[in-house]
C-alpha cells in the first residue's frame, strides 16, 4: 500500500529512522510544483531553480515544514503553496542577494527541462502552474505504480495496450496506436479484445488516481472534493 502524504509527514515529524529517506521522497514528489509556481511568477530558469532549492533547504529542511504540518489544517497542496508564497514574499523583501545553498549541499538536482517546455506552451498563473505540476506528479505516481502492479499480476499486455492507446498519447503527445497495430504487436485475437483490455486498466487507473488524491487530503475531506478543486484550478488556467 502506498503511504499517504500525511502518514509520511507524520513519519518525518516522529523522527523515525527512515526520516531522511521519507523526507527526500516527499521533496521529490513536490519540487516540480514548487519550481513551476516560481517560474510562472516571472523568474528565469536559473533564479527559479535557485529559489526552489532555497525553499526546500530553508523552509522544508531547516524550518521543518513537514514536521510542523498539522493534518487538521487541511489539504497538503494548500499548505505547501501557502508556505511557498510566504517564502517568496520574504525573499522579495530581502535586500542583499545571497547565494542560496543548503547547509549540507543541494538536496537534489533539478531536471527542469520538461517543466520549462510546459511553461512555454501554456500561459500559467503561478497557482495554475503549481496545480498542473502537482497533478502531473500525482498522475506519474499512478502510472509507475500501476505499471509495476500489472507486471507482477501478469497483465503486461493489458498495460501495454493502455499505455500505447491512452496514457502515452495523453502524457507525451505521441500518436495513438491504432487497434489493428496493437492486435498485431501484442498477438491479440481481435480489436474488441484490445479495447476491453484498455478499458479494464483505465478503470483501475481511475481508481488508483482517486486513492492517490485521497492520500493528499486529511480523512475529513472527501477525495472527490479535492478532485473537483484540482479540476477547477486546471480548467481555469
Amino acid at each position: 500500500m502506498p503511504k499517504t502524504d500525511w502518514s509520511m509527514i507524520g513519519q518525518v515529524a516522529g523522527g523515525e529512522e527512515a526520516q531522511a529517506a521519507v523526507l527526500e521522497q516527499l521533496v521529490r514528489r513536490y519540487w516540480g510544483a514548487v519550481y513551476a509556481y516560481i517560474r510562472a511568477s516571472g523568474h528565469d530558469v536559473h533564479t527559479s531553480a535557485d529559489l526552489t532549492q532555497g525553499f526546500i533547504a530553508e523552509v522544508v529542511l531547516s524550518r521543518g515544514l513537514f514536521e510542523s504540518a498539522d493534518q487538521l489544517r487541511g489539504r497538503f497542496r494548500s499548505l505547501l503553496m501557502s508556505a511557498l508564497q510566504n517564502y517568496l514574499r520574504q525573499e522579495y523583501r530581502r535586500t542583499s542577494a545571497q547565494k542560496r545553498q543548503p547547509v549540507s549541499g543541494p538536496p537534489m538536482s533539478l531536471d527542469t527541462a520538461q517543466i520549462d517546455e510546459q511553461m512555454e506552451s501554456a500561459k500559467h498563473s503561478p497557482e495554475s502552474a503549481f496545480t498542473a505540476q502537482w497533478t502531473l506528479a500525482l498522475v506519474n505516481r499512478v502510472v509507475d505504480r500501476l505499471r509495476r502492479e500489472c507486471r507482477v499480476e501478469g497483465l503486461e499486455t493489458h498495460w501495454d495496450v493502455f499505455e500505447h492507446r491512452v496514457i502515452r498519447p495523453m502524457l507525451e503527445g505521441v500518436e495513438v496506436l491504432p487497434y489493428p497495430a496493437l492486435v498485431e504487436r501484442f498477438n491479440l485475437d481481435y480489436t474488441a479484445q484490445a479495447a476491453t483490455m484498455m478499458v479494464s486498466i483505465k478503470r483501475r487507473f481511475a481508481r488508483e488516481l482517486m486513492n492517490e488524491i485521497a492520500n493528499t487530503v486529511p480523512k475529513n475531506i472527501p477525495p472527490e472534493d479535492e478532485l473537483t478543486a484540482l479540476l477547477h484550478d486546471l480548467e481555469r488556467a
Partner: protein
C-alpha cells in the same frame, strides 16, 4: 517521436476519468469504449444516437459492447454491455436501415425489448430501441412478443 508535455486540458481529462469512474463505473467504461471509437463523442449514447456515426463505427461499437457483455468485470458491466450491444444493432436499423447482425428477429426483439424496459438506461437509448422494434415489426408483422413480464436480458450469441 517528439514528446510533448501534457497540457492542462489533457491533465484535466485524466482527472475526469476518476470522477466518471467513481460515480457510474460500468457506464463510464462503456462511454470510454465509445469515445475510443469516435473521439468527438462524450458518451456511448452520443455515439449510438449521432447521425454522423457511420455503419463501420456501429459495427465496431457492436463488437466492443458484445465483448463487454461477455467478459465485463461486474454484473453491471455485462448488463450495460448487453444493452449497448442491442442499441448498436438498433442504431444500424433505425439510422441506416441496415441490419448489422445475423441474429434472428426473435432474438433482436428480445434484446430491443430488454433495452426499452430497462429504466436504468438513458431514455434516448430506450427510445432508439422502441424505434428499432417498430422497424422490426414493419419487416415482420407477425413477430411474436416475449412472454409477459419476463423480458430477455440479452441477445443470443452470434
Amino acid at each position: 517521436m517528439t514528446k510533448k508535455p501534457p497540457s492542462d486540458e489533457r491533465l484535466a481529462r485524466i482527472l475526469r476519468w476518476a470522477m466518471e469512474s467513481s460515480s457510474q463505473p460500468a457506464m463510464a467504461a462503456a462511454d470510454w469504449l465509445a469515445c475510443d471509437i469516435d473521439d468527438r463523442c462524450n458518451s456511448a449514447a452520443d455515439l449510438l444516437l449521432s447521425e454522423q456515426t457511420t455503419l463501420i463505427q456501429l459495427r465496431q461499437a457492436k463488437s466492443v459492447f458484445k465483448t463487454m457483455r461477455i467478459v465485463g468485470e461486474t454484473p453491471a458491466d455485462r448488463r450495460i454491455g448487453a444493452r449497448l450491444y442491442a442499441a448498436s444493432i438498433a442504431a444500424g436499423l433505425v439510422r441506416h436501415n441496415e441490419r448489422i447482425s445475423r441474429q434472428s428477429n426473435r432474438a433482436l426483439y428480445r434484446g430491443f425489448s430488454a433495452l426499452l424496459n430497462d429504466r436504468r438506461m438513458p431514455n434516448n437509448l430506450r427510445d432508439l430501441a422502441g424505434m428499432a422494434l417498430c422497424v422490426l415489426k414493419q419487416q415482420q408483422p407477425t413477430l411474436e412478443q416475449t412472454p409477459d413480464g419476463i423480458p430477455s436480458l440479452e441477445i443470443d450469441d452470434e
